[in-house]
């Protein structure tokens, strides 16, 4: 089977698995909603754009840690061994990344929906904001998939995942928050292409690195 076909099969497997244990996805969704509720009680309505922005991305950051951490932790040792003989490791990481990116985008849109209703929605440039949301969540999904793979090898420790992950995603997050602030302000005279290009480049970079490095992580 080609790499593409294998990846596709793995993605389907991920979705099947998700279907079988719906509570997991709903658990993460519930996490997003309750975090938004907590911020609602703390802040009532946020008028200040930088605060609104920072809080939104902080919620998404923690959501992504929780949502993506499962991707390797839920695999039992037997299942991993089985996969090890069956498929190309690169198909495994690509499939997991693709799945997590889709998951993160769904969570982000849901999160934005609730956050907008409860805390207020000052976004001016909706188109730019959604592209930022897409690019930022894609980056978070990809980076944390790789980090989760590393952390799962080092004893499945949730603390370890945060320690390893945060320094790695901070550059991504810094870019995303800046771009998102431009979108919320809606004051951009021209589309901030340099930021968008930098984000796209960063995503490609992380994907490429994961693609190259994962096979070394996979073998035992």
């Amino acid at each position: 089977m080609s790499l593409g076909a294998q990846t596709w099969a793995m993605v389907r497997r991920e979705f099947l698995q998700e279907q079988r244990q719906k509570y997991a996805l709903f658990g993460v969704l519930l996490y997003v909603v309750s975090t938004v509720f907590v911020s609602k009680f703390g802040f009532k309505v946020i008028k200040d754009v930088p605060v609104w922005n920072a809080l939104f991305w902080t919620i998404l950051l923690f959501t992504s840690v929780i949502a993506v951490a499962r991707s390797f932790q839920q695999e039992t040792r037997g299942r991993l061994l089985y996969l090890y003989f069956l498929v190309d490791p690169r198909a495994v990481i690509l499939a997991k990344m693709l799945y997590n990116v889709i998951l993160m985008n769904i969570l982000a849109v849901a999160g934005y929906f609730f956050y907008g209703i409860l805390v207020g929605n000052p976004v001016q440039d909706t188109g730019l904001f959604f592209s930022t949301l897409f690019l930022g969540c894609t980056g978070l999904g990809i980076a944390f998939t790789m980090i989760s793979a590393i952390a799962s090898r080092a004893g499945n420790n949730f603390t370890l995942m945060s320690i390893l992950g945060f320094p790695i995603v901070i550059p991504l997050l810094m870019l995303t928050i800046r771009l998102s602030k431009i979108a919320v302000d809606g004051a951009a005279i021209e589309t901030p292409w340099s930021y968008i290009m930098a984000l796209v480049m960063m995503n490609v970079l992380v994907t490429g690195l994961a693609y190259l490095l994962f096979p070394y992580l996979w073998r035992d």
């Binding site: 590393i150 004893g155 320690i163 320094p167 070394y216």
Partner: protein, 345 residues
């Protein structure tokens, strides 16, 4: 002796940078300019000027005012009294500000060359559109050329820290690059030798990173007034340190040697690439605030920051410290190998 030549070279370079960095003078400049009248259009006003490293009493001085927006218009002092090498009092005829009420002040003598302080005198005059008196001072462009570090406001003498603080970062980045190179070699060959080199190099790099952070913080306190300023480069450096401390935690969390080397190598390569992105790409984007040289657009040094006097000292400091860093890493590696050998016996 033959295999130690590079260590000697490194030490000599560092010693040279220390001596040259501390010995070479800073060029003369104007520290303070105080006017005795708030308004420059009033009858003759006096400006007391204090210079730094200047030689006012050794040559004939010329003092003139330059309007900050209209550079061409100059007004010369009518009377100049020299108190000593560092102090001078200049008397000006009444001057009405043209276009904006801020004046730059220039002092010239053949020993010091041309000294200029922008926005030296603020006047309360808001009356505009009167052309001020003009004069053409005689200036020899080549006068006062000397082998000295540039005089920069805010920095003053602490400009020398360029030779001591900045090489820490260069050394850290060089060591991290060397370690990533070895980690890649490890992943290609699975030879434990490379992993030991890479790991020990990272631990040495952390030392230089911490030194860079602390020295930078002290320098920032003296020049910018705060221990920590919000600056992309500073934050980037701090995050890099966090990533590599996370590497140490990750590595220590595993027992199996082979596994720990492999996973450590993967994380280290990952972190390194993100660090390059953080330190290399982010500060270049528009709209990022940095107090470091070359604001938003082009970080790094341009010809204005690193003049020909500083360059040789700076480069030898960087080369010297990188070699010292590699040396420390090599000693660490040797100690580690000895420990391994003694454990295996």
């Amino acid at each position: 002796m033959k295999q130690n030549w590079w260590k000697i070279a490194g030490s000599l370079l560092v010693v040279f940078s220390l001596i040259a960095g501390l010995q070479i003078r800073v060029k003369p400049g104007l520290l303070n300019t105080v006017s005795d009248h708030a308004s420059t259009s009033e009858a003759p006003f006096k400006v007391s000027i204090s210079g730094y490293n200047t030689n006012f009493s050794q040559a004939e001085n010329q003092v003139w005012l330059v309007n900050d927006t209209l550079r061409k218009i100059k007004t010369c002092a009518s009377k100049i009294t020299v108190t000593d090498d560092q102090h001078i009092i200049a008397e000006f005829p009444p001057v009405a500000p043209a276009a904006d009420p801020v004046f730059g002040l220039a002092v010239y003598n053949s020993a010091d060359g041309l000294l200029f302080k922008p926005s030296a005198i603020n006047t309360t005059d808001t009356f505009k559109a009167v052309i001020v008196q003009s004069c053409t001072p005689k200036v020899d462009v080549n006068a006062g050329k000397q082998f000295a570090f540039p005089f920069r406001y805010v920095l003053y003498e602490s400009i020398r820290n360029l030779f001591f603080h900045v090489p820490m970062w260069f050394c850290m980045i060089a060591l991290l690059t060397w370690s990533v190179f070895n980690h890649i070699r490890y992943l290609r060959t699975f030879n434990a030798k490379y992993d030991v080199i890479a790991d020990q190099t990272i631990r040495t790099a952390i030392l230089f990173g911490i030194l860079g952070l602390i020295t930078g913080s002290v320098w920032a306190r003296v020049t910018w007034g705060a221990w920590w300023v919000d600056d992309v480069k500073l934050n980037g450096a701090a995050i890099t340190m966090l990533a590599y401390l996370a590497y140490v935690v990750l590595r220590n969390s595993m027992e199996d040697k082979e596994k720990r080397a492999r996973i450590g190598a993967i994380y280290s390569i990952f972190a390194y690439v993100m660090m390059i992105a953080l330190l290399g790409i982010l500060p270049r984007l528009k709209g990022t605030d940095t107090l470091h040289p070359g604001n938003g657009g082009n970080p790094g040094f341009n010809q204005y920051d690193l003049d020909s006097t500083m360059r040789p000292v700076f480069y030898s400091a960087v080369a010297g410290w990188v070699i010292i860093g590699l040396w420390i890493a090599q000693i660490r590696t040797r100690i580690h190998n000895l420990k391994e050998a003694s454990e295996n016996q």
